[in-house]
Symmetry: D2
Subunit: 341 residues, 4 copies
């Protein structure tokens, strides 16, 4: 068999580990051949490929990013996109396709499968918000990077009697904020799932200042205040004449300073959360996902994606991944609230 | 209520996170009082306690070890041990006990419960070999430390065209070796569950030397050859007149050198695997274990231990933990074997 | 003797190591007594002290921040500030003072010395811009944190064919940017000492995109374009209606996107550069600084600060530290330029 | 010009950074050509080369080990070795040679230079024991790895009221032990330069157990007791029938247990100290060494090696490196002794 592989959407530590596992087992155990498509769906759309053999995957297990490149190209939004892909897959002599990606990528995979393409999906989202699997790889790495940053913020916050705000990824789901905040000993965690009450946040901040410690607030980029609070003012200019007002983290800092009279500073972790070498957890999970994906192809079971359930890697319908977002349930947030203030 | 807490057995990153969660929720939400017993069962046996309040648990979340101390004292092996403990618990005014520990510690907890003491257990084993829970805290930290070491060994092995052997913990179960070896890109993983064939190990080593990479072998301390192979010879003396023969790692190095003619060196990770700050995964798991344990006490549900099932923290019978060892199943080892050689 | 200790200015990994060394040798070897002043010059100004003995410094060596707290309080800017301090030092029975801090803190120390107070200084600046010493502690830690971030940015930049900009500390001197950029394999490094030519920066970015790697730009927060380039436009609003324009890093991203047509993203490291556990280099340097400072006090040599010259810790005049800023010399920047593009 | 490059002796984080800097500046600025010799002096001895151009050095800056391989092959010990090398260099069209290595490698370089070969040396020793330079690259990385391990050992030692011994590299010089011990807060540091008194070591151990902390002993592999103490006994057998007695670390543990009645355990860091990604300090130092080495070649100044003096990279005579070992001076050890016990 000749199998295509692609990685779509935002990159995520562990992508290379999936690719390696697929190829190592596919070539070594099953005797398949592989072809890599470049930059997500752009590859099959434009017929751009790279060689993908045992040699190509040597040494990539600990490397972040993806050797295949990625993009957010969505063929469903391109006139005749799906047909072009089917044509290019046929031309490249591809019998089956393994698509590694998030909601969007797997949505395209599902559409292709519905039109007869033999596809297996591997779920990927650093935000951990895919419904069909307990965890996705990359998430554990992102959380650890955030926790390392939070650990560092504690001592500097204490030394200066300042509130420090750490803005982490999570536009629609607060998983990274929840886990990083719980692991980092945050005094408040703010997530998109639950609009926050700025008065309560400030009360936590004030009460923390009564101890010899200083408040650390972990906020998901998608968190927002309950309606009517924190109306946005035009950004003030700083010494260089730059407008300093940024995302929710900076808004929060300004608001806390105004209301409590204490200094507050924000750190936005940004792209360092998604780059670099994966944790052991993510390397193992990604490797096992890759093994299961190639097994599914070998078994001729298509239209599925791999998933973690407990300690097992199972197969689930491709549709399941894209059904609904897995957000933080109320109970999990309440666990964290025990440590607020 | 007045609740006693103790930590028994080998230490493990995350113990302090459990203690903190128990106390923070116990005091802050339920209004209980706490007393810490020193050094595992030695504390209640000898009536030695330390204060345990909100102040005592500040700042301990990221710290390895246990603020309560630990020991391997087993009251079941001490004449009248259990009675003494019951007496001392009563004297300390303790209404319920939270015992954090492994098989031995939980075995004592079970016995005490059978005799009417109100006990809740929290499972702890860095080896991840307790049956009733998907994972135990400390394991993820140990695996990450091992993987970091293995990542380092790769480059030095390659530069010198040497085989490098990394001996990790795991006397009876190979979980750390399996996960660290899979995440670290080991060429061979040897675990106690499956006696190894030294000829096959050497064949993997030889084949790896055909590439520009060098073999890395991850071996659990309890791994052993199939019967008859590698009969132990009296240790040779080194330049200082010391006998150099150590554990399985060093035996393996000698044997590989003899059989393949290539240099082989061993690194024994030892105690650094169990010390230091826990990973985010372990901090979250330990915190959630602590929360569930104090909830169980508050609910008046005793004779149970907390456990992870998928993403949920549940309660299981104290007996379950000690029923049988959770060893690496054949299927999991076969996953790893794909990457051997 | 009774010796006061204070830490002033921005915190910096290694402050606690200095304090510990001072106290350990002062008490253990010389038999002195210590008193800690809170929050830099605010402590002696308001007469606020904390106990400072062997017990107080146990376990603080690896901890970031400062157990004494810090502030930017400058008594020279306060009417009668210096007199108040002299009065409070006398009242606290302090025979000599060890002041740990940067230019401002040491400037006050110099003024006090000129007025008869027995002072020894320990230089501190995470920016490494003090003239009298080869290196200051905290700098190595900041550089390592930045390099770890840059290592992570490489893989995510490559996967998405994006330019990634990493903004590091350095308002007036580019040392952190220079070292982190050189160690992190940056394609361009921009420092305050040399106004940059945006056309040239874009040329480097374009040429890097010709390889399979992606451009990483390390920029000190105080870097700026040559006059006339990159005139500031009013910030555009993002999806949430927030003005997104921030520091030099974000300005640069916008400009590169506009001129090259490639995506560019910025990460601002911020406070994580100054918090957390110090590197080995900083712990050793800070410890040796502390030892030399207490030796100077014991020798009765005041009005001096300690300094690193080669591998030796020496004493220099307090005035030297504050004479002029140590900026990056042309030769050092040219070394780095070899790797641009 | 056509320039050969080789790396000899034990590998060391930073070797690749040197190679990269040499090639990047040599090709990019000076327009030279390069050829890599494999495995130290084995390469020129046997005429084995690899291509070495800009492409070959892409991405190697953060990688441990050496892309050229290494060996301990010493042509001075081989009949006609030097002549063979001269012949092979001529045959490969090599005009000049850059030799990166320790005492042995640079000794050969010196001999070749004396016989008319155009050689520039780059000093390398993880042990930091070369006289002509303030620091060598690799040392800072090794020290940081050791400190990370020691940080971890503290908490496990405390939890179990055990002494923990950490054996680090350093056969003839105690630099790694000194710096790692000082940075790690060791209670005793033992180095080859000063035979230790086991009674005094045990006294330190005992006194440490009076606090709530536990003793950590850092010992260089080449440390030894004063004559007559700790006479070696035949190793006892452990549960598996293995002789357990190993290096100085294990001997020390046995002796401390016997004399103090307390548990003691040893961790031997071994090869993880020399593998893996270099610290920022080592990357910068190695890069600057490489730049200076290619400058020397370009300037036609041969028979020299590069060296760090303060913050400057200078050139020193090749002979200087091999004159005498740089051991830990008494004053530096006395600094550390302040913290013993």
């Amino acid at each position: 068999m000749r199998i295509g592989v692609l990685t779509g959407g935002g990159d995520c530590p562990g992508l290379n580990a999936v690719i390696r596992a697929v190829v190592r087992k596919g070539v070594g155990v099953y005797g398949h051949e592989f072809v890599g498509f470049c930059d997500g769906w752009r590859g099959p759309l434009e017929g751009e490929t790279v060689p993908l053999d045992i040699q190509a995957v040597r040494g990539i297990l600990p490397r972040g990013g993806t050797i295949l490149g990625s993009s957010r190209t969505n063929p469903l939004k391109i006139e005749g996109g799906v047909e072009k892909i089917k044509g290019n897959l046929a031309e490249a002599g591809v019998d089956a396709l393994i698509a590694i990606g998030g909601e969007d990528t797997l949505g395209v995979a599902k559409r292709l499968f519905d039109q007869g393409v033999k596809v297996v999906g591997v779920p990927k989202t650093i935000d951990n918000d895919l419904n069909a699997t307990d965890y996705t790889f990359g998430f554990d790495t992102a959380v650890n990077i955030a926790v390392e940053a939070i650990d560092r913020l504690h001592t500097t916050a204490e030394s200066h009697h300042r509130a420090l705000i750490c803005e982490v990824m999570g536009r629609h789901a607060g998983w990274i904020a929840l886990h990083a905040g719980m692991a980092g000993g945050a005094n408040v965690i703010l997530i998109p799932e639950k609009p926050f009450d700025i008065d309560r946040v400030c009360a936590y901040v004030e009460s923390r200042f009564q101890t010899r410690y200083a408040p650390i607030i972990v906020v998901a980029e998608g968190a927002h205040p309950i309606e009517g609070q924190m109306t946005l003012q035009a950004g003030e200019l700083d010494a260089f004449g730059h407008v300093r007002l940024g995302g929710i983290g900076e808004m929060l800092a300004k608001e806390i300073e105004k209301r409590t009279g204490k200094e507050a500073r924000t750190t936005v972790l940004g792209h360092i959360q998604r780059g670099g070498t994966p944790t052991a957890f993510d390397r193992v999970l990604a490797t096992r996902f890759g093994l299961q994906a190639i097994d599914a192809v070998h078994d001729g079971e298509f239209g599925v994606m791999v998933a973690l359930r407990g300690t097992d890697i199972v197969r689930a319908g491709l549709g399941e991944a894209t059904k609904e977002l897995k957000t933080v349930p109320v109970g999990r947030y309440e666990e964290a609230e025990v440590f607020f203030g």
